[in-house]
Amino acid sequence: MGRLAVPFVGFIVGLGFILALLCAVFFTPHDAPEVTAASVFHREPKEIHYASDGPLGRFDRQQLQRGFQVYKEVCSACHSLRLVAFRDLEEIGFSKPEVKAIAKGWAVEVPTVDDKGEATTRKALPSDYIPSPYANETAARASNNNALPPDLSLIVKAREGGAPYVDSILTGFQNPPAELLKRFPDSAPPPGLHYNPYFANLNIAMPPPLVAEGQVSYSDGTKATVPQMASDVSAFLIWTAEPKLEARHRAGVVAVIFLLIATGLAFAAYRNIWSGMKH
């Protein structure tokens, strides 16, 4: 009988768990998720392709520079980019003097102390991280109807859908469809929020940032349409989130080719060693 003690106790424990689960199956509700305005009208990001896509993808530096211009002239009014330093801009093709000029001309200055120890600000240097538009979260909320503009450094990795999601948000502003208000009369965007079907709950605090063609003037002659600016700035944000993407792709190709050859040799060695041994 001792031999059967474990299976017997196991049987009892198993029955306990199974009965608890059966009660859960029969006595708790399994309602389908509630149909809400968001569950019906929310849209997946548009399909947008970038030069950096795929295992061999490289950045289009011209595009990244245009995207930086959009960030600088539009987004940086409210959004910080705190993980990127001015010196990093050399990686997307700006020369050292250009980086110096960009840092020096940045609208927000860097906090420091003067020679008496009093708090003051100074012009940014290439070694500085890009200064944030607001001194702190409270200031940011106070200027934005209590909404907090998120830092953009990692935004494409921090959102399901990545860069196409950012692009879709930027180009997705529209008037609420008539059908939405008909089916869900309470779903009109509250004051201060803006209808955008690519945003999880349909109403985003950010007002449409890219509104007119030619809002920035590109020096490379590219026509600054709203979709063009949106895809340029989202491509730029791929780089801010993943600055080592090109090095990673290059190393990956070398590593995989090397390992495939090594694995082929290992397979040959394995077959050779086992050749006389039936198994």
């Binding site: 049987f11 059966l22 199956v25 295992p55 090095a247 995989v256 694995t263 290992a266």
Partner: protein, 425 residues
Amino acid sequence: MSFPWANHYAPKHPLMRWMDEKLPLPRLVYNAVGAGYPVPRNLNYMWNFGVLAGAALVIQIITGVVMAMHYAANAGVAFDSIEHTVRDVNAGWAMRYAHANGASMFFIVVYLHIFRGLYYGSYKAPREMVWLLGVVIFLLMMATAFMGYVLPWGQMSFWGAQVITGFFSAIPVVGEPIREWLLGGFAPDNAALNRFFSLHYLLPFVIAGVIILHIWALHIPGSSNPTGVEVKGPQDTVPFHPYYTAKDGFGLGVFLVIFSILMFFAPNALGHPDNYIPANPLSTPAHIVPEWYFWPFYAILRAFTFNFLWIPAKLWGVLAMFGAIALLFFLPWIDRSPVRSARYRPMYKWFFWVLVLDVFVLGLCGMKPPEGVWVLLGQLAAIYYFAHFLIILPIVSAIERPLPLPMSITASVLGEEPATTGQPA
């Protein structure tokens, strides 16, 4: 240990003879994973995963030690210190992605290793101790992986820590004080982050120690094999080196190719986007999900939604989740069939594949938000999980008629007719 016909270590070079007298470490290696360890000749590719799990641990330790050189376990700077590693440290991105995806690769090979053991009955006598130590390693891995996921101090790190340590508060009366003691506070914060870092650095070395015991225990009866028939003579075995070192070398190559594709071309595919948002105790993510390797257990936890016998559903869930792993400790004594390999167990084989499917379904339910049909599916899958191990297995092992076993490993390899009918191996 080992078989009488095992090759004997005979150092030829005077230096090696001197070494052998003072510290016979080369002899130990020779007998453990060299030509001195006779292994059944018929092992298939499913026997590669033990070595691969060892390789995965070594990769985790090396990349982890380098990561720790640049990491700061402080709630104020932890998130940025990881970003600093990725952006400013030479090859820091490679270390970070190798370490994060290495955890997934480690769990993939360990899950295959565990299911190999379940299919071929590797947990049965005389290898019970090997299995028990394996379950201990699995538990230590889960603890290590959980604490490692907290270290970047992103949103999922913080809220994952909140949920997992919340399990303890399900224990009546003492639960909440235990939780606060473990965390060093009322919620995860600096104290928790620091102790998790300390333990995340410690536990891999504990795992390495238990792996040594795992291999030691394995070497006493020797490796199992796909027929489940024990080794009967020298013709049944080959020396581990060069036969299985060569085969494991090939397996390691395939493992590293898949690992490289993952870490170089899709390094964030298995992560959660929310963990790129710094931890914010004031903002709860819409869906808190653990890493993929915990999904089946997370589904079991959430399957209990009824206060059965006046015990709160949450406590049932926590007990069941730990029970789902703890029952593995008793498996050698639950499955009483004398036949090891599922090849010769026509009923068990079917239930095994249902279990594999069931664990996939549980994983899917653990990933999905707990609403609608996913809750019901998770409950049904959890019922099968417990029924499989605690109800079906004892019954099957009592009533099943095994197929005839081969006379020996060699007879099976050479395709000779089986002569015995369903006798113990």
